[in-house]
Symmetry: C2
Subunit: 305 residues, 2 copies
């Protein structure tokens, strides 16, 4: 028996039993972080005070009734930072070293020498300056890339990014860099941020990496920018519709790397998510301040300091 | 006309004209660094004083007549360091993040979530402590791995490796690490260094990366260690026979990444190689000390300091 089960009545439920299970509950732990069941079951939340979600992005639970309620929302900030940063560096190296083509040539038993690219000295713009974006910036910089960021407010002395551009003027800065990494939270402001105008503003041959949310991107515009050859490639771990539908053109494009929303999910990730909840549970139980409290107007946990 | 062509009579030749072209020549630039033509044409070298090779490894020209002669041998040390280091980090990330499987699943349009691995905190042993090995050590360390080295002499205070083990006692240390990177020069001492006993000494699931020379490895033993499942994978850029023969089992093994001896060859590499030769040409012409003089007993350029 988990210590939490000794300290509280714990109900486990799937989506179809959620409304019933919510009745009388003080706290809700949304473990299936992509579940869309919470809004439809909200009528059962007759005394809920706290909702914790096993993800960094809180967009699946940002429905109006929760936003307007007094329910405190916390997320799993921190669990995915290092893993996703490594994943992004891996995709940048995969593009630079042409690994996908090496694997296709290997399948054909074809020995074909090519010239590849350095990553040292290349430039990357990380769109999203939360903890995951910062971990990405630090790792890419350690590997020799020149990094800048894009976030809510422009600044020039950020410890991880150096220069941070204002996301609202993103397109003015997209043409400066070789790699664009999307890791912004999904909010009303960032939805569809990467559209035809953004892709057109990117440098010819630039690569686009999305480890944020699929809805940051207008998928049709991305497909067109890849098809035209303007973009050099895309590494996509998240999609507007997940799982990615079998008829999506993204599956079969040579310059696209598709992965199934797993960039942060290293061995042990589920335990790590439970530990974040457990830590907050004891804080809540003992009346101490919760960690990772989401600003429901912003749609993410604001940076401290 | 290249400035060198104004300062000297330059003869360009393929393998079949080499003996004739060597007659009367003072210097030889071996641009096709994998060519085996030099020993057979050596009888034409009637006044040769300097041989420069467009590679880091000098094994293709380490034949007895050259070793015993007074001909000075120089190599292209430095050109490949950063490129190969990036390539090695890329293969380590490809293993940790399971990129090869993602690409195969993409070809089948299959969405299949898996748990992947962190690289931070994992361990790597770099076998070979020349400039390329050092660049690998620095980059892997910057990316969060814990790195040690193996070289001619053991030491514990190396600036890049920290601890360097003695290559002659390599097998005692292979069991400690997650990734083994082979980048040693090919000499009588290192030929076949990675044999059945070495692979047996590695940790179950360890990955092996070879960016040195194929002859460092007993290929049949490597294939067996991969087939048995003892090794977790291998990334191979060099092979005992190049191009890798179409009937090699390495082409079709799921846990093997084959690339065609190109890990150091980034855009501009050929110009960089010519520049190294050109710099040494003017030094030679002006009687200044040459750079990258190979110790023909050791088979590589000894470290300075």
């Amino acid at each position: 028996m988990h210590p939490i089960e000794q300290a509280a009545v714990v109900r486990y439920t799937r989506a179809d039993g959620l409304a019933e299970a919510l009745r009388g509950a003080d706290a809700l732990f949304v473990y299936d972080f992509l579940s869309t069941a919470v809004p439809g079951a909200w009528h059962g939340a007759d005394r809920l005070r706290w909702l914790h979600i096993a993800s960094a992005g809180v967009d699946p639970v940002m429905f109006p009734e929760l936003r307007e309620s007094d329910v405190v929302l916390t997320n799993s900030r921190g669990v995915f930072d290092g893993s996703i940063a490594e994943y992004v560096l891996g995709t940048i190296l995969a593009f630079a070293k042409d690994f996908a083509r090496s694997l296709r040539l290997q399948q054909e038993r074809t020995w074909q020498h090519r010239e590849t690219e350095r990553i040292a000295g290349r430039t990357a713009l990380v769109v999203g300056t939360g903890p995951i974006g910062r971990a990405i910036a630090r790792l890419l910089r350690a590997a020799g890339l020149r990094v800048s960021g894009a976030g809510r407010t422009a600044r020039s002395d950020d410890p991880d990014f150096g220069t941070v551009h204002e996301s609202a003027r993103l397109n003015e800065h997209l043409g400066d860099v070789d790699f664009v990494v999307a890791v912004a939270p999904l909010t009303e402001q960032t939805k569809g941020l990467f559209d035809a105008s953004a892709f057109a503003a990117m440098k010819p041959g630039a690569r686009f990496v999305n480890v944020g949310r699929g809805e940051l991107v207008v998928t049709g515009d991305l497909v067109e920018a890849l098809r035209s050859g303007h973009l050099g490639g895309a590494a996509l771990d998240v999609f507007e519709t997940e799982p990615l539908p079998a008829d999506s053109p993204l599956w079969t494009m040579d310059n696209v790397l598709v992965s199934p929303h797993m960039s942060g999910d290293v061995v042990g990730w589920r335990n790590a998510l439970v530990e974040v909840f457990t830590d907050n549970f004891w804080r809540w139980r003992e009346g101490r301040p919760l960690r990772n409290v989401v600003d429901k107007d912003l749609g993410y946990v604001p940076s401290t300091g």
